[in-house]
């Protein structure tokens, strides 16, 4: 394994972790980190605290020097001014990677920026690698190892299902909040890496690693500022050939270069250039953090769209019209079905006599036959060759009643190899009951009309990109 690979091995699959600044004081990060590690059933925990003694049954080492040989990963949770000293001790002890959770560096003030420079100097001199400072740590949902320094993640431990989406976040607390929301709406994560101030390891390096990670099929990135834009583009261009990358960037300065002497310079805002890099690098850039989550969910469950023709089955005419407008904005089409298919839909009992059999297919008012109608029309549209993917708009009982029927016959729907999305809304209780059932069989449910359309567009963007790669 190359040197870079081994950094991530020590970050994501460590054998032992020293927790420098471990604490018995409830609510502190030094306490929470130990609890998170214990609950991960992780066995190589080495708390470090000058007081020594024991902590939750673990032996506490009074100093870094006292640690046994062979510990290669550390989390540093000390006050900022004590971090450089601790980092140097770690390097001397043979620790290869340190996660610095402490804040109070460049993000704070000039004094903090000086401390961060001191860290850089130690990194340069000793070769130790650093994640952070000011980061929330790392979570490996596949192995269950949680070494974040917050209680938030632990609160939804029961709901987390290991999956194939990995998340690179520059924001700490909001990153964890997005992870939590993601889990609640059905995203199954593989790795979560919080970058913090990026003194050393940045999104580019993590992206490169995740590109090669067999447990990652979709990469989600939340970016605040970028230091190595050109390199990000180069790496993204390679990684996106293998798996989709979805990016959301905040702080898209609309104004151009300061003191530009040309028109071009005055127009070259950072957001615009980032968007250009995404387009050329095959990165799907989204417009909101919620869209980032939903688009990743859709990528994790569904194949890309091989063409731009969308079939719609709905029990709400109004919502269907709204979706059609939005799909059109994204360059997707909702073609009228052929006369033959229109006739078959009615004859084979997929659409009632009083329904609309064109596209959108409108099943109209609530009926106990919804399960059959939704299932049959979905299947017939997918099989027809007249559309490249389908959107099921399911409102109220339209979402509730067909769930068993769709789950039962899902393999036949999936066999067509075309994406299926649900735009669904119902009472919160109904949603909580049925959405996981759909998503357990890989059919994503999105409750926001714009984001549903955006997700379809993302599937098409990816399909077009993959099509281009094959040429």
């Amino acid at each position: 394994m190359n040197a870079e690979g081994s950094v991530f091995k020590k970050l994501l699959h460590p054998e032992g972790i020293a927790v420098i600044g471990a604490s018995s004081k409830e609510g502190t990060s030094g306490f929470l980190t130990i609890q998170n590690l214990l609950r991960s059933n992780f066995e190589g925990i080495y708390p470090v605290n000058p007081k020594g003694g024991t902590l939750s049954g673990l032996k506490v080492y009074p100093s870094v020097q006292d640690l046994p040989q062979g510990v290669e990963t550390a989390i540093i949770l000390l006050a900022a001014q004590s971090v450089p000293g601790a980092l140097r001790q770690c390097a001397e002890k043979g620790i290869k990677v340190a996660i610095i959770g402490s804040g109070g560096f460049k993000e704070k003030d000039d004094e903090g920026a000086d401390l961060q420079l001191e860290l850089l100097q130690i990194i340069k001199e000793t070769g130790i690698r650093v994640l952070g400072p000011n980061c929330m740590g790392v979570y490996n949902a596949c192995s269950g190892l949680n070494f974040t320094l917050t209680a938030t993640l632990d609160q939804i431990r029961e709901q987390v299902r290991p999956g194939n989406i990995s998340f690179i976040t520059q924001s700490g607390a909001f990153g964890i909040a997005l992870f939590t929301t993601g889990v609640e709406i059905g995203l199954n994560f593989s790795k979560v890496v919080s970058l913090g101030n990026k003194a050393d390891i940045d999104e580019v390096e993590v992206l490169e690693h995740l590109g090669d990670d067999p447990e990652t099929d979709v990469i989600m990135t939340y970016i605040e500022e970028m230091k190595r834009g050109r390199r990000f583009y180069e790496v993204a261009k390679q990684v996106s050939k293998k798996k989709p990358i979805v990016a959301f960037k905040v702080g898209r300065t609309p104004t151009g270069m300061k003191a530009a002497a040309s028109h071009t310079g005055a127009l070259a805002g950072s957001g615009r250039i980032f968007s250009a890099a995404c387009k050329q690098g095959g990165v799907i850039e989204v417009e909101s953090s919620r869209a980032m989550l939903e688009v990743c969910k859709v990528f994790a469950y569904q194949p890309p769209l091989a063409g731009n023709r969308i079939g719609i089955v709905t029990n709400s005419g109004g919502l269907a019209v709204e979706v059609c407008d939005l799909l059109d904005d994204f360059g997707l089409r909702v073609p009228e079905l052929s006369p033959g298919l229109q006739e078959s839909l009615v004859q084979e009992g997929a659409v009632p006599n009083w329904g609309i059999n064109k596209n959108p297919v409108d099943l109209t008012a609530a009926n106990r036959n919804y399960p059959d109608w939704y299932y049959k029309s979905a299947k017939m549209l997918l099989a027809s060759g007249e559309v490249d993917g389908i959107l099921l708009i399911m409102v109220g009982v339209g979402l509730e009643w067909p769930v068993e029927r769709i789950v039962e016959g899902v393999e036949e729907l999936k066999a067509m190899g075309k994406p299926i999305l649900i735009l669904g809304t119902a009472k919160r209780k109904i949603m909580e009951a049925v959405v996981p059932k759909y998503q357990n069989v890989d059919i994503p449910v999105i409750d926001d009309v714009r984001i549903a359309a955006r997700s379809m567009a993302a599937l098409r963007e990816r399909g077009r990109y993959e099509g281009g790669l094959m040429k």
């Binding site: 270069m257 002497a261 040309s262 028109h263 071009t264 127009l267 070259a268 250039i273 387009k279």
Partner: protein, 233 residues
């Protein structure tokens, strides 16, 4: 050493960060970008002589390292149809330059043939601090100034990336020709975008900004009317 290197080295030696229009066009030409030719006249007689050589109508533009926005300071005269108009224009430009930019070093005027009207475009390039060399495309006039209807890509770009840049702008249909107009020569435009992206990439250590503004696009071909190149300081 290529003529591009010679021009850049010369400007650096003299401490000029903004190349003259003629120098900028010389560099574009070296990269195969068509430009409206021109020559420097240092006297009114020379201006008349050059104009006769190019054939009327002609354009006169002030040349001064200190005057960067030539038209704002009355330094550009268009569509001059005979020797008398050229003489008058020369004198007016000199007077305006003295009045608006006292102390500016006036090297003379550029005399160039008046290009036939075409679809006005802007093609530019800059070094972005994070993403390095990038290239920009847009429609000229209000489209770029007010609507900021432009597209960017990281340089260098290939043919399909350049085509994406054209299609991305809202005004793309104007290039295809509206209501019976002939379409613009898209291949000629793409060619210029690609070549400019190569230029900004090759000279990423020396050049900080380039504007071709305007570029006129025709049914057959496209040509840089004015150009500006700014070096890194």
């Amino acid at each position: 050493m290529s003529s591009v290197n010679i021009i850049i080295a010369g400007a650096q030696r003299e401490g000029n960060s903004i190349l003259s229009e003629l120098e900028a066009k010389e560099i574009l030409k070296e990269y195969g970008i068509p430009v409206v030719g021109g020559d420097l006249a240092t006297s009114e007689d020379e201006a008349v002589q050059l104009a006769a050589g190019f054939g009327y109508p002609v354009v006169l533009k002030v040349v001064s390292p200190q005057i960067t926005h030539k038209s704002d300071s009355g330094g550009v005269k268009l569509n001059l149809k005979d020797a008398g108009e050229v003489l008058r224009a020369y004198r007016e430009i000199m007077a305006k330059a003295l009045e608006n930019c006292p102390g500016a070093e006036i090297k003379g005027v550029v005399v160039q043939p008046m290009a036939r009207p075409g679809r006005e475009l802007v093609i530019g390039a800059v070094q972005d601090s994070q993403f390095g060399p990038v290239v920009m495309f847009g429609l000229g006039g209000i489209f770029v100034e007010v609507l900021k209807d432009v597209s960017f890509r990281l340089a260098p770009v290939d043919h399909s990336e350049a085509l994406d840049m054209l299609r991305e702008i809202k005004g793309y249909r104007l290039l295809e020709g509206l209501r019976g107009e002939l379409p613009c020569d898209l291949e000629a435009i793409l060619n210029i975008i690609i070549r400019l992206s190569n230029l900004i990439y090759d000279y990423r250590d020396e050049v900080s900004e380039i504007d071709i503004n305007p570029l006129f696009a025709y049914h057959d071909g496209a040509i840089a009317i004015d150009a500006r190149i700014i070096l890194k300081s």
